[in-house]
């Protein structure tokens, strides 16, 4: 036989041996050796005969040993993941329990510490299990990794099999956590497109799930090869993975929340790209490295899966980039001048307010009037007012046409005579107060707008005065005293805007609108049926013009609101003691303490962008951009809770402005009729003698330059003025508001 020099030659020679080729015989010493070995190994003559009862005794012995083994070992050996095989034995189990206890204790002490310790222990625990696996435990060591497929495997492959999936889970948790943060950041940037945000959220959720599934599937398959498909085995396996994922996510949330806060703000898209890419590569590695220990997963399949994983990653990256550039950068970056101007304006106003010394017992210097339902002497030198029974009228709409409210009002009005008597006694004080230059009735801290406990009750008391004045006007009109009615109406209109004039927050504006709405309710009736003279009509018109909500009021209020919310969120984000007592920490669910700072940063930025963009639009008082409750992205939890319903506020401003303009038109038309004997055929005829210019219908959803005028039809002795807009529905009214005769506010 030729000396086999190389491997190929020897392989051919070996094959000939296995084919039992005759040419192999008598070839040489080495051939003889191998044939000798074959003969020795095949020779059964040397093997002792088995006793006749071997089967029985062997079976009994095996069953005995099986029954004698500890139940935990039996359970874990057959049903649990291989990793836990070692943990199920004696000290290992205790160690695992101790480890869990340590993690729990750390978590109680500090969440961040839990994150760090958890991550370290996670890797340590896996290494410990790996080392433990090889130790003898009384039973023979396990026959390789997968009994029915792979053999032999290098230690490198074994390491990959256990460590790579664990790292994959850990990194997947990190990726999920960072994506969560990135989503918050992105939701800020794209705040203008709420529907797109929901889609974006769903898209990312699906991406994460798909990526994780693709990355883990081969690993899970490999494990299943080892542990069978019995329900307890798969259940335990899934619980095991679920547990790791949960722990890893918790840990990484804490760690990455600290690490990436600044980077995420500035490079959210870049971060997401990297993360998704890393996850894709990780999926590939996991698949590739673990496929060698699987029977059914080939390299081709691994490549296919990883390609799919990467494709999804790139799709998501493309989607994010597309959104990013389509929606532009943040409004803060896009309109830096406007942003700075708005913030400067509010800061200047707030500085003025805060400069008032505390020596005034915490009340503002501008206070000249003080409303309290239970006067506490010594709070200051303002004008005090006892509301008494009138305060019960504060929180209802006395002019509502809703049957339930009307029923409630009937009961309430039974107490009106008593309240009226007390109110009439206080009326001179209200007249006196209105002569003062400023009003305020709220503590300094509350001027920032969020101490609802003290702020809202005061506003409600303001409203009760409007109710009282409107009721007095209604009564005077019904009892044939139009002059008295006009006096109360003018007083009510003045009260509506002057009571809050030093408060420029959104809630201040809203209460002003509420008061104006109450004060203006009886006006149409009094004008059309009260036989008012021209000067009375003129004074009413002047009062309406003064009470009208300015076009920029909402814009200004929102700038204040933005500033204050920004300030609050920043303070909360910095975890510093807050100077402004808008919202106490008790109001914030404990859940927010667990959120990474970057999430709150994202909330803050989202709010700024969203509201600033709206405030810009409010200059033209276009239709609210978003209707309904879904205006706040569900991912921005904090904003969702604390940000006011600004779409409704916008609708309220638009409708009240429209109503005041319509009432002024009604007054002008009535004055025209008094002079000309009938209503004009066209609204143009009242300009400029009865009205300086014709108003646009602010309630219209169109932007300011394109807003139409009111619809007007005249029949000589009657007329109809109509305002049509879907915006009315946002404030619970019909989309068609009619003034004049035969309308909802008919003078008939």
């Amino acid at each position: 036989m030729t000396e086999p020099h190389d491997q190929d030659t020897f392989e051919r020679f070996s094959e000939l041996l296995d084919q039992e080729d005759e040419t192999c015989e008598n070839q040489g010493v080495e051939e003889e050796l191998l044939l000798g070995l074959r003969a020795v190994l095949r020779d059964r003559t040397g093997t002792p005969e088995l006793p006749s009862d071997f089967t029985k005794t062997m079976t009994e012995a095996v069953l005995k040993r099986h029954k004698e083994s500890p139940w935990a070992t039996r359970f874990l050996m057959n049903t649990s993941p291989f990793l836990l095989g070692g943990a199920g034995r004696g000290k290992s189990l205790l160690s695992a329990l101790g480890l869990g206890g340590l993690l729990a204790l750390t978590g109680l002490l500090s969440f961040d510490a839990l994150a760090v310790v958890g991550s370290v222990l996670l890797v340590g625990f896996v290494s410990w299990l790996l080392a433990r696996r090889r130790q003898d435990s009384g039973l023979p060591s396990m026959p390789g990794l997968a009994e029915n497929s792979p053999f032999p495997e290098s230690r490198f492959h074994q390491l990959c099999f256990y460590l790579v999936p664990t790292l994959a889970i850990l990194l997947s948790g990190t990726a999920a956590a960072l994506m969560f943060q990135g989503l918050g950041t992105i939701s800020y940037t794209f705040r203008g497109d709420e529907a797109g945000l929901v889609q974006l959220g769903v898209f990312f959720g699906v991406c994460v799930v798909l990526l994780l599934s693709l990355g883990w599937k081969p690993t899970l398959q490999a494990y299943r090869l080892r542990f069978g498909r019995s329900f307890p085995a798969v259940f335990t396996l899934n619980m095991f993975f679920g547990g790791w994922f949960f722990l890893a996510t918790l840990a990484t949330l804490g760690v990455t929340g600290r690490m990436s806060v600044d980077a995420m703000r500035q490079h959210s898209a870049l971060w997401l790209m990297s993360l998704v890419g890393v996850l894709g590569v990780l999926s590939f590695l996991t698949t590739r490295l673990s496929c060698s220990v699987q029977a059914n997963v080939s390299l081709g399949q691994a490549l296919k899966r990883s390609t799919a994983s990467l494709a999804i990653s790139f799709l998501s990256i493309g989607f994010v980039l597309n959104m990013f550039y389509q929606m532009h950068l943040t409004k803060e970056l896009l309109y830096p001048k406007e942003y700075k101007q708005a913030i400067d304006e509010v800061e200047s106003w707030l500085a003025d307010q805060m400069a008032i010394p505390d020596s005034k017992n915490g009340w503002m210097e501008v206070k000249r009037f003080m409303i309290r339902d239970d006067i506490d002497a010594g709070l200051g030198d303002g004008i005090e007012l006892r509301l008494g029974a009138l305060k019960d009228f504060a929180d209802t709409d006395l002019f509502s046409k809703d049957p339930t409210t009307m029923e409630k009002n009937e009961e309430l009005l039974k107490r009106w005579p008593q309240a009226k008597a007390q109110f009439l006694e206080e009326l001179p004080r209200i007249r006196e107060a209105l002569k003062k230059p400023h009003f305020a009735s709220i503590p300094t801290e509350a001027t920032d707008g969020y101490d609802f406990a003290t702020l809202v009750p005061n506003f409600i008391l303001f409203r009760s005065i409007s109710q009282g004045l409107a009721l007095l006007a209604e009564e005077a009109f019904l009892s044939g005293e139009p002059e008295q009615a006009v006096d109360y109406l003018v007083l009510g209109l003045e009260w509506s805007y002057r009571a809050n004039e030093s408060n420029k927050t959104l809630i201040g504006l809203m209460i002003r609108i509420a008061q104006l709405s109450i004060a203006s309710n009886p006006i149409e009736k009094v004008v059309l049926r009260g036989n008012l003279n021209d000067s009375q009509l003129e004074s009413l018109d002047a009062a309406l013009a003064a009470a009208q909500v300015p076009r920029m009021a909402l814009h200004t209020a929102m700038n204040h609101e933005i500033y204050l919310v920004d300030k609050w969120i920043r303070q909360f984000e910095d975890r510093e003691p807050r100077a402004v007592k808008e919202v106490s920490l008790e109001d914030v669910p404990a859940f927010y303490e667990l959120l990474p700072d970057s999430y709150l940063g994202s909330e803050r930025k989202a709010y700024l962008n969203f509201e600033l963009s709206r405030a810009s639009n409010w200059k033209s008082l276009g239709a609210p951009e978003v209707f309904g409750e879904d205006e706040i992205n569900p991912f921005n939890l904090t904003s969702q809770i604390f940000v006011p319903n600004t779409a409704r506020a916008q609708a309220q401003v638009m409708t009240i402005r429209s109503r005041v303009d319509a009432l002024r038109l009604v007054i002008a038309l009535e004055r025209f009729k008094r002079k000309q004997g009938g209503y004009p055929a066209s609204l143009q005829e009242i300009v400029p003698n009865y009205l300086q210019e014709l108003p646009r219908d602010t309630a219209s959803g169109l932007p300011w330059p394109r807003k139409p005028g009111f619809e007007y039809t005249s029949h000589g002795q009657t007329f109809q003025l109509t305002s049509r807009s879907q915006v009315y529905e946002l404030v619970g009214e019909s989309s068609r508001q009619v003034y004049g005769y035969h309308g909802d506010h008919s003078g008939e």
């Binding site: 041996l17 050796l33 002792p48 050996m77 026959p143």
Partner: protein, 204 residues
């Protein structure tokens, strides 16, 4: 609940249809997955000779071979649920036997010696080996061959054992080892080459 799960998965049970040695290995494997003790008996009855021969070839000790078989059957019984393909039972069992033998050798930590019976039997010339003039020399050669075989790494011993003792084809070995056919060929060749070099080294 734990106990209930345990009883479902690990306690020995009897399936409604009794399995015996007349059943095929696949049928026995299916029954074993349910924890049927009769299936275990059938498996032992059907495979004991081949397994014992394999173990004895590797250990050259009757009692130790018994122990290895007991360990192997226990593992098969306890982990039958993990066996995905019933067809693979035979190759899986052989592989476990090989591993158990290896564990026993490792635990013992010393070279195994052929027992007395084997020494007596070894006096007869094995098939395929040129008869030596001196019977004592012939026995010594056979022992040396076994000794060198025992010194090979596990990977080599397993490959040679599956081929020469269990008479497995390349395809069967490929399934058992979970490696491609080409790898089986090269692994056998390497094992033989190493056997030769170790033998020669020992001689020198």
């Amino acid at each position: 609940m734990y106990q209930a799960v345990l009883s479902l998965t690990t306690d020995a049970k009897h399936s409604p249809e009794t399995v015996s040695s007349s059943n095929t290995l696949e049928e026995i494997a299916v029954a074993l997955k349910t924890g049927d003790s009769k299936a275990l008996e059938a498996l032992v009855s059907k495979t004991e000779k081949a397994c014992f021969h394999l173990a004895y070839s590797l250990l050259r000790d009757r009692e130790l071979s018994r122990d290895a078989l007991q360990d192997a059957y226990l593992i098969v019984f306890q982990r039958a649920g993990q066996l995905r393909e019933p067809k693979a039972l035979k190759s899986w069992l052989f592989r476990i036997v090989t591993h158990c033998c290896h564990d026993i050798r490792k635990k013992r930590g010393f070279e195994l010696e052929a027992d007395v019976e084997e020494k007596e039997e070894a006096a007869r010339p094995p098939v395929g080996v040129k008869p030596e003039a001196d019977p004592a020399r012939r026995v010594a050669d056979q022992n040396r061959l076994r000794q060198v075989f025992g010194q090979l790494p596990e990977i080599d011993r397993t490959a040679l054992a599956l081929r020469e003792i269990c008479s497995m084809s390349y395809e069967e070995m490929s399934r058992t080892l979970g490696v491609p056919l080409g790898t089986v060929r090269s692994r056998l060749a390497k094992a033989r080459k190493r056997f030769i070099s170790v033998y020669k080294g020992e001689k020198s």
